[in-house]
């Protein structure tokens, strides 16, 4: 199942859906919203938006890539949009495989690929403004400061020049 939702994720139900008699491992990755603080300000919540249906299709493509690389029997990726409060899940990846190695590797691959190719964006809403992660664009006074670059170290950029 590859899907995008606008409500809280039921991770337990997603794991149950992955249980299979021919699999000895279910690997789960859950991305949750982290609270950053700096100089008296804090992130209050994150807000996600997506380009649909391209984002849905890219999730399916990641699933197909995984099935071509590893012996896995079930892959599920669910990403949440809209406001996500601190500590809540924004993405859940569940992979079932006969053996644990491929399950671990495939779930790691899925989250890395999401951060590279799936057209989803998050905005940090701070107590004193907001910042688009990865673009360093927002309303915070210190928007050019180092602390707003948090999203730029994960290799998710696909610059125009790279596509030239």
């Amino acid at each position: 199942m590859f899907t995008i939702v606008e409500k809280p994720l039921d991770v337990g139900a997603l794991i149950q859906d992955a249980q299979r008699r021919d699999c000895g491992a279910i690997a789960t990755f859950v991305g949750t919203t982290r609270i950053d603080e700096s100089e008296g300000a804090a992130v209050e919540y994150l807000e996600y938006e997506a380009y649909r249906p391209m984002a849905d299709r890219k999730l399916e493509e990641i699933g197909a890539e995984i099935e071509g690389r590893w012996d896995v029997r079930y892959v599920s990726i669910v990403h949440r949009l809209g406001r996500v409060d601190p500590g809540e899940a924004s993405v859940a990846i569940v992979v079932a495989a006969p053996r644990r190695g491929p399950a671990f590797e495939a779930s790691r691959y899925a989250i890395e690929r999401i951060k590279e190719v799936v057209p989803i964006w998050k905005r940090e809403v701070w107590s004193d403004g907001y910042v688009w992660v990865g673009s360093q664009v927002g309303t915070r006074d210190q928007v050019t400061g180092v602390r707003t670059f948090r999203g730029m170290d994960s290799g998710q950029r696909i610059p125009w020049r790279a596509l030239r």
Binding site: K115, V117, W121, W132, S135, P159, L163
Partner: protein
Amino acid sequence: MIKVLLFGAAADRAGTREIELPVEEGVTLAEIWPLLAEMHPDLAPMRDTLAFAVNGEYARKDAGVSPGDEVAVLPPVSGG
């Protein structure tokens, strides 16, 4: 006409999420960009960070665009 969709920081900077643009058959993304940057000058500094999609798939700078196509302006993605 083509429909240009903007997302995330690009929508923020342009102050809009959708732009209708009159174009002729065979124009490329590289030729469309200056039109967008002229309409919305705050977009211009983002140029090197942006990717583009045509009809829902990543497209290169030299990709052709036809009337009726949907072009998307995509800032660095930050899902997860």
